[in-house]
């Protein structure tokens, strides 16, 4: 825990939990969160005793091996799922089912195929947004993600990268207190992924919301996040149940130099934590590893 949530954010939400405050960056607190799924072969614990504090406006990346519960963790914060034990707080109040203070960009774009990109983005707007204002906001968001020229196209008519940008715009349309990104760039080609990462940084710089980013890409985590959380199974009594293994504070201001030597040190450390042999030689930024 390198930061404490700003006291103003807590007092403002404690006195005014009304949705009028949606749009302010929210701190997130997970305390003792546990989640077990029932499977045909018996209960499968996924998260256990997970504690994590995220300051308002902070960008936190969660990494961990495949199937370790990263997405489950994110779903707890979004209110798409509820923990079996522990609590999840947004700005000091418990997260509600499908919490309106959060917005999720899923791993797949999940756009409605029969709607144009503009209408898909409009789906993210808070209910009751006046029509003219809605049109303006959608146009602004499409412009932000570089889709102004494709507003009238339907998801099947555009590339995966464009669909994912529309999905991001839809999430931003909600003016979320916490933006939740579930491997949002995972399915994109390498170049588009780099562009999307810069786009996310631009968006965050223009409107600093709290961002929780789940990724399997160590480079991406180090490039985007203030802190990187490594999830792993810690308790030998509950194999498979992940908890926070370590938290790394990433040095340097964004946008960062992707070839920064300090980052490659951290990359080696994180990959090591993920159980991937890195064959890392100190101060050799030319080495790149993929998981």
């Amino acid at each position: 825990m390198t930061r404490t949530p700003s006291s103003t954010a807590i007092t403002s939400t404690a006195t005014d939990p009304a949705p009028a405050a949606v749009g302010d960056a929210r701190p997130v607190a997970l305390r003792g969160v546990a989640r077990t799924f029932a499977t045909p072969s018996g209960p499968r614990p996924v998260l256990a005793g997970l504690d994590l504090e995220i300051a308002a406006g902070e960008v936190v990346a969660v990494i961990g091996p495949s199937g370790c519960g990263k997405s489950t963790l994110l779903r707890q914060v979004a209110g798409l799922d509820a923990p079996d034990a522990g609590e999840v707080l947004l700005g000091g109040t418990p997260v509600a089912p499908y919490d309106a203070r959060t917005a999720v960009a899923f791993q797949e774009p999940r756009l409605l195929p029969w709607r144009t990109l503009a209408h898909n983005v409009a789906l993210g707007l808070p209910r009751g947004t006046p029509r003219t204002q809605a049109r303006e906001q959608v146009a602004r968001l499409l412009d932000l993600v570089g889709l102004s020229g494709s507003a009238g196209l339907r998801p099947r008519q555009v590339s995966g990268g464009m669909a994912q940008r529309a999905s991001l715009a839809r999430a931003l349309a909600r003016r979320p207190g916490v933006l939740l990104l579930d491997e949002p760039f995972g399915a994109l080609d390498a170049l588009t992924r780099l562009r999307m990462q810069d786009l996310l940084l631009e968006v965050h710089a223009s409107r600093p919301t709290t961002v929780l980013l789940v990724t399997h890409d160590v480079e991406e985590a180090l490039y985007l996040a203030d802190r990187v959380v490594l999830l792993a199974a810690l308790d030998p009594a509950a194999p498979g149940a992940a908890s926070v293994r370590s938290v790394i504070t990433v040095p340097g201001d964004r946008p960062r130099d992707r070839a920064d030597a300090r980052l490659s040190e951290l990359r080696a450390e994180l990959l090591d934590g993920l159980g991937v042999p890195t064959h890392h030689h100190v101060h050799d930024p030319d080495l790149h590893h993929s998981i």
Binding site: A78, L80, Y98, V104, R110, L112, W114, P126, R156, R170
Partner: protein, 289 residues
């Protein structure tokens, strides 16, 4: 056709700026692309579709005019035509076609609307599904003709019993497709809808029903065909007008020409309404494909 040849690399276009297929060997409009061929052209397909009916008509004419088949078994096309003209002159044919079409359209609309409503309920609510599915499945298993005596006893031989029978016929294809379609809506889309604050009727209207539209339209088309089926069942047994009545009446009086006319009419009417709904389907599904 006046064409503009602007240069070697620019596509050759006609006066409206469209690429001229034959003059642009490397443009996407060129006929050599996969899937292209005479069968991709609409008039060709239409002509092929009409070829078999034409052959049948010629065969019909030949076997009747050569005396291969006796006229009391199969009258010539000309005498069926005469029977049609005769019925038109008496003002009966128009009336029969109109009343049958009216019954089908009304019965179809009632049945389809109910099928959509009950299907949505059963498809979305587990409680409604558990309560209704078994019973409706059993009702569905009852053959259409089995309803006729009961409906006549309950409602008489007027329009009500006929509309009810047709509505039953139209209900089930819509009901079953709606239930299945709603249960198979991509759960990812539904979750995304919920995550963006949609619930209940809003979620149904914005995500679930639109996602089910392609299969629902297919169900509606099936229901319309079924409506014509049930119409004949209703009119064969108790009616004083309509195409089904014409069929039954001709059968009892040995008027093979009129019976054949009635069957041709049913084929024509059924195909026409199906084509109309097919057109609607096509324009609707442009957004989904």
């Amino acid at each position: 056709m006046s064409v503009t040849v602007t240069g070697t690399s620019a596509p050759v276009t006609d006066t409206r700026g469209r690429a001229v297929p034959g003059l642009n060997p490397f443009s996407p409009g060129h006929a050599a692309r996969p899937g292209a061929g005479p069968l991709s052209r609409r008039p060709v397909r239409l002509a092929l579709g009409l070829a078999l009916p034409a052959v049948l008509l010629v065969t019909w004419q030949v076997v009747t005019s050569t005396g291969l088949v006796a006229p009391y078994q199969l009258p010539s096309p000309a005498s069926v035509w005469t029977a049609a003209v005769d019925l038109v002159e008496r003002g009966l044919l128009g009336q029969y076609v109109a009343i049958s079409t009216q019954r089908v359209v009304l019965g179809f609309l009632i049945g389809a609307a109910l099928g959509l409503a009950v299907g949505s309920l059963v498809g979305l609510s587990r409680l409604a599904g558990s309560l209704l599915e078994t019973t409706l499945g059993a009702v569905r298993a009852v053959p259409s003709l089995a309803w006729v005596p009961l409906l006549i006893l309950w409602m008489g031989i007027g329009e009500d019993s006929k509309l009810t029978l047709i509505a039953i016929g139209a209900f089930f294809p819509v009901y079953t497709t709606v239930v299945a379609a709603l249960r198979h809506v991509d759960p990812h889309l539904v979750e995304a809808g919920r995550a963006y604050g949609l619930r209940g009727a809003r979620l149904l209207g914005a995500v679930q029903l639109p996602a089910a539209v392609p299969s629902v339209v297919a169900g509606l088309r099936l229901a319309l065909a079924q409506s014509w089926l049930f119409l004949v069942a209703a009119e064969l047994i108790a009616s004083s007008m309509g195409v089904g009545f014409l069929l039954m009446d001709s059968g009892q009086n040995g008027r093979v020409d009129r019976a054949i006319l009635a069957i041709l009419l049913l084929a024509l009417l059924g195909k026409t309404t199906d084509a109309l709904i097919g057109l609607a389907e096509k324009s609707l599904l442009k957004r989904w494909a």
